[in-house]
């Protein structure tokens, strides 16, 4: 049986295609203004990889912030459930999954069956989310992809005093004027977000094993800060941004 999971995120659309529970294709497309276009493109892209067409998919489950605007989906599940289903499939010993995306951070505690026990989602302030790292990368004039590697070279811890994103940006400017190295500023940025995410995760109680998923999990600097902050090992799956879509595709297979 062929199923698809579609994760319509705030910034990117992720598609995972399964055949009999095994991943056969995936794709990631930036969501612009026209979500329908992104959806068609993403699906086409993934299907083309394995020479399939839309009609071959037996069930589609959507997730993500835009899950209710995915036409043709057989069902929609929340990111919380999708993350939990996806991660326990990848590693059954995971009890806490932390998902940091562009606009939202969340922490989910699940049991051995992948069932959600408790969850927390960051509130309005986006300081805990990926959008913040992007803004900071801009302020430092480094490509976002390099911010992580840069911070790993940091020689010293510089505290980030601003507690909100707007002040943080002007504080980075102050740090630049104070001739703090880019490396140290990058680490300060990651430490600040990690602290925010840890705070939120502690709300649900951080039970081992812990996994980090979502786009920001690709940022090695952030992962390093989070490991230090939580003081425990964190699993980052190979394609961290696809875990939600994978979960949705698995739920699609179960529901058929």
């Amino acid at each position: 049986m062929i199923t698809a999971g579609i994760d319509m995120g705030a910034k990117n659309l992720k598609v995972v295609i399964l055949r009999d529970g095994q991943v056969i294709a995936s794709s990631l497309i930036r969501v612009g203004f026209d979500t329908q276009e992104a959806l068609d493109e993403g699906l086409q892209h993934a299907l083309a990889e394995v020479g399939l067409s839309k009609g071959d998919i037996q069930r589609v489950v959507a997730t993500g912030a835009g899950r209710n605007s995915v036409p043709g989906a057989d069902d929609a599940v929340t990111e919380v459930r999708a993350d939990s289903a996806g991660i326990t499939h990848i590693s059954p010993t995971i009890r806490t999954v932390i998902d940091v995306g562009a606009e939202e951070g969340r922490a989910v505690r699940c049991n051995a069956q992948g069932k959600v026990v408790d969850f927390a989602i960051n509130e309005k302030c986006a300081a805990g989310a990926g959008a913040f790292t992007e803004a900071m990368a801009r302020a430092l004039e480094v490509p976002l992809e390099e911010l992580g590697a840069l911070s790993l070279k940091s020689q010293q811890t510089v505290p980030m005093n601003a507690q909100c994103a707007v002040f943080a940006e002007s504080e980075v400017v102050s740090l630049i004027h104070a001739r703090t190295s880019k490396e140290d500023i990058a680490r300060a940025v990651h430490d600040a977000i990690a602290s925010r995410i840890t705070s939120m995760a502690r709300r649900v109680g951080v039970e081992k094993d812990v996994a980090l998923v979502g786009g920001v999990a690709r940022n090695k600097g952030f992962v390093d800060s989070l490991r230090r902050d939580l003081d425990m090992d964190i699993l980052v799956p190979p394609d961290p941004e696809f875990v939600g879509a994978l979960g949705a595709a698995l739920i699609a297979a179960q529901g058929a």
């Binding site: 929340t78 919380v80 959600v116 408790d118 969850f119 309005k124």
Partner: protein
């Protein structure tokens, strides 16, 4: 049609006393506005202030309580924004109590929520347990050009730890307050009117507890969204005979609904409770949850803001026996004030000011006895008084085994409520409770 029948598990019908409730409320706001036309007096103060006491000044003395007034403004989005911006322009911080900012804004703009200019009060009669209470009216008194202001401190510790000295402190301030009322109004104080008003208030708050206790029934005869419109008289004019009679009528009707299994929400298959004031501009969340078959049967807030409870002989929670029923003599001013202070100190929503564990215990009890499946906690940025300790309440409820969903919002300032994200969070919570959308 077959599917609809399946979705609608229970029969339902509108409340018969709904219109009466609406009329009493409208009359209250009109009375306040028109008091002067008949030579009467106007006072303002909080919903928890000892409103029965000014009744001793005569039958033509009308109050306007501030929290329901702030909520009324919140319900009117355009006016709310205008009021909040007026308060901010004056220099007040955005994170202050949102009822207070709505109220201040209404005074600053000189706009009454029910039309016309803000009717200037003759005096302020307030009480204080939350930091904002006394400060609220200190500012109002100043904004109104220095109108007389009296405030009673009731923050004397939890009910079960009350001592003679603590009660005496409250009663003493009440006595001082009566002398002050006589002085500023030049009127003679009538103790008979006080005694009647105190008894009425005790009757009303006991009746409300009885009504809320009836909601233990499955299906629930009342849903929380409707209760918001029904409890309001308790925070407006609970010391009047009309309101006593209204709650008697309501109690009888709810009893009847229980006997005949008339549900508030025909889809009821999951019972929830909430906490703190709701985001008034977004009451649609309650209707949204009903599409999952989830009904909020109430909260410690709707039940215990005014209702007075006690352990019943069978160990359950129910209406507290009134001092009149117990045969306590209430014949003098001092006896009336003492009975009033003692009764009010038992208010469930006054207990968490001293320890969140007291509230957690009441919430868990409510959840068990009212057969609740999950809890929504409104982390209300608009009210520090009712959201203190809420994070500890959450931990305690989780420990008791209840699923809990916190959501941030603001009762009176819609700028702090993220509609889409809260709805999405509700979807997630419903999913974890194993519920699917019914329609």
């Amino acid at each position: 049609m077959a599917e609809t029948t399946d979705v609608m598990r229970w029969q339902t019908k509108p409340l018969e006393c709904w219109r009466l409730a609406k009329e009493i409320r409208e009359q209250y706001y009109r009375n306040y506005a028109q008091a002067r036309e008949k030579g009467g007096l106007r006072w303002v103060g909080g919903a928890w202030s000892f409103g029965a006491i000014p009744c001793g000044l005569g039958d033509d003395v009308y109050g306007l309580t501030s929290e329901p007034y702030g909520a009324t403004i919140a319900f009117n989005k355009d006016l709310a924004l205008e009021c909040q911006e007026a308060a901010e322009k004056y220099g007040f911080a955005r994170d202050l109590c949102s009822y207070m900012r709505n109220y201040w804004g209404s005074v600053l703009l000189n706009k009454y929520a029910w039309g016309g200019p803000f009717p200037k009060p003759d005096f302020v009669w307030q009480d204080h347990i939350c930091c904002s209470h006394a400060k609220w009216y200190q500012v109002v008194s100043e904004l109104e050009g220095g109108i007389p202001y009296f405030c009673i401190d009731v923050a004397v510790g939890p009910y079960h730890e009350r001592t003679d000295s603590r009660v005496e402190y409250m009663v003493g301030q009440m006595h001082d307050g009566i002398q002050w009322l006589e002085k500023i109004t030049g009127r003679r104080y009538d103790d008979e009117k006080l005694i009647e008003a105190v008894k009425n208030e005790i009757r009303c708050t006991s009746l409300w507890a009885e009504i809320c206790t009836l909601n233990k029934a499955v299906p629930a005869p009342l849903d929380e969204k409707s209760m918001y419109s029904l409890y309001v008289h308790l925070v407006l004019n609970r010391y009047t005979p009309e309101v006593v009679s209204f709650y008697q009528t309501l109690r009888d009707e709810v009893k009847d609904r229980v006997a005949n299994q008339i549900a508030a929400c025909p889809t009821e298959r999951c019972r929830l409770m909430t906490d703190t004031q709701p985001p008034w501009a977004f009451l649609k969340i309650f209707r949204y949850m009903e599409s999952y078959g989830a009904v909020s049967i109430g909260s410690l807030y709707t039940y215990g803001l005014m209702g007075i409870y006690d352990d019943q002989p069978d160990g359950s929670w129910g209406a507290k026996v009134t001092p009149m029923e117990r045969g306590v003599a209430i014949k003098t001013r001092d006896q009336a004030l003492r009975a009033y202070a003692e009764w009010t100190l038992a208010k469930p929503l006054w207990q968490h000011f001293y320890n969140p564990a007291l509230k957690s215990r009441m919430m868990a009890r409510l959840a068990r006895e009212w057969q609740v499946n999950g809890v929504l906690l409104h982390y209300n940025r608009g009210c520090e008084g009712l959201s203190i300790g809420i994070a500890e309440n959450r931990l305690a409820l989780l420990k008791e085994g209840f699923p809990v969903m916190p959501f941030e919002g603001n009762m009176g300032d819609e700028r702090e409520f993220d509609d889409t994200r809260v709805m999405s969070r509700i979807d997630t919570f419903m999913e974890t409770l194993g519920l699917r959308k019914l329609y």
